[in-house]
Amino acid sequence: MKTVLIKTLTKKVTKIALVLIPALTLSMTATAHDPSMHVKKAEKADCSKMDHSKMDMKDPVAMAMMKKCMKQAEKSKGQMDHSKMDKNMDHSTMKKIDDKISENEQHNH
């Protein structure tokens, strides 16, 4: 009597598991979804990745990339007006400061 009960019980449990496990995994994949995917940030063009050796300068895509990156370079230059600056500014330390800033930015989350 007991063994029959156990047998039907295990059968039932297996059946439930067969339904539940796929259902659960499916619903999990539907919710496991990185919220960062929904965030659109206004990114800057990553011009460091441009490989000039592979670029055909007659191709509109290559020309467009050059245009964008040149504009970007000009803009970042234009932000700093050297003519109004103290001539004694020590440029040799600037690289270090830049590195520090980018380091901070990277660890700022």
């Binding site: 979804h33 995917m37 659109k40 206004a42 990114e43 800057k44 063009a45 990553d46 011009c47 990745k49 441009m50 509109p60 895509v61 020309m63 467009a64 990339m65 245009k67 964008k68 990156c69 970007q72 803009k75």
Partner: protein, 177 residues
């Protein structure tokens, strides 16, 4: 007189069937339940013929202009990529959830199946028309209500080159700065 009676019968029966189908609720409008092959074919043929006819007299400008790629690229990234994807991405909430599904515009014509493809000029014409006017009862919006033709041609120029772009090229072309 007999023909008239027969005609009347057909009309009454037809209207009756249509009304019954409409109000019975048996038509499933869920987006996660695809059309039958027949209904799909019916809708697709109707859509393709409509676009072809409407677009046939559109004049295509020079699309090889770098400025157009830059303008179209930024617009594409912000207005279209959520549905039509970008290099290195094969799915999104929209591309999975919408029905009819938005085509993956990073794939070239040879790579995507579903309908015929004509020459470049005809393809550009049709893209322009679809972007400007949208497609009824699908998620494709009519961008012409908020964007002038110049912006729309720029998007056409961009999506023409999109299948050839690497992730790096895409990033540079579409970035705002």
């Amino acid at each position: 007189m007999r023909i008239l009676k027969l005609l009347l019968l057909v009309v009454v029966l037809g209207t009756g069937t249509a009304t019954t189908i409409m109000y019975s609720g048996i038509v499933n409008v869920a987006a996660d339940e695809p059309h039958s092959d027949f209904v799909y074919w019916l809708l697709e043929e109707t859509r393709e013929s409509s676009i072809k006819k409407a677009a046939q007299n559109i004049k295509v400008p020079d699309l090889e202009d770098p400025e157009m790629l830059l303008m179209g690229g930024t617009d594409y990234e912000f207005m279209c990529s959520s549905c039509h994807l970008k290099p290195g991405q094969s799915e999104s909430d929209m591309s999975i959830g919408l029905y009819p599904a938005p085509p993956n515009l990073t794939l070239s014509n040879e790579e995507h199946v579903g309908h015929e493809h004509e020459n470049d000029e005809q393809a550009s014409r049709k893209s322009f028309w679809v972007i400007k006017h949208g497609i009824k009862a699908s998620a494709m919006p009519a961008w012409g209500k908020t964007h002038d033709d110049e912006r729309i041609w720029a998007m056409v120029a961009f999506i023409k080159r999109l299948p050839t772009l690497t992730q790096e090229q895409y990033q540079i072309l579409t970035a705002v700065e």
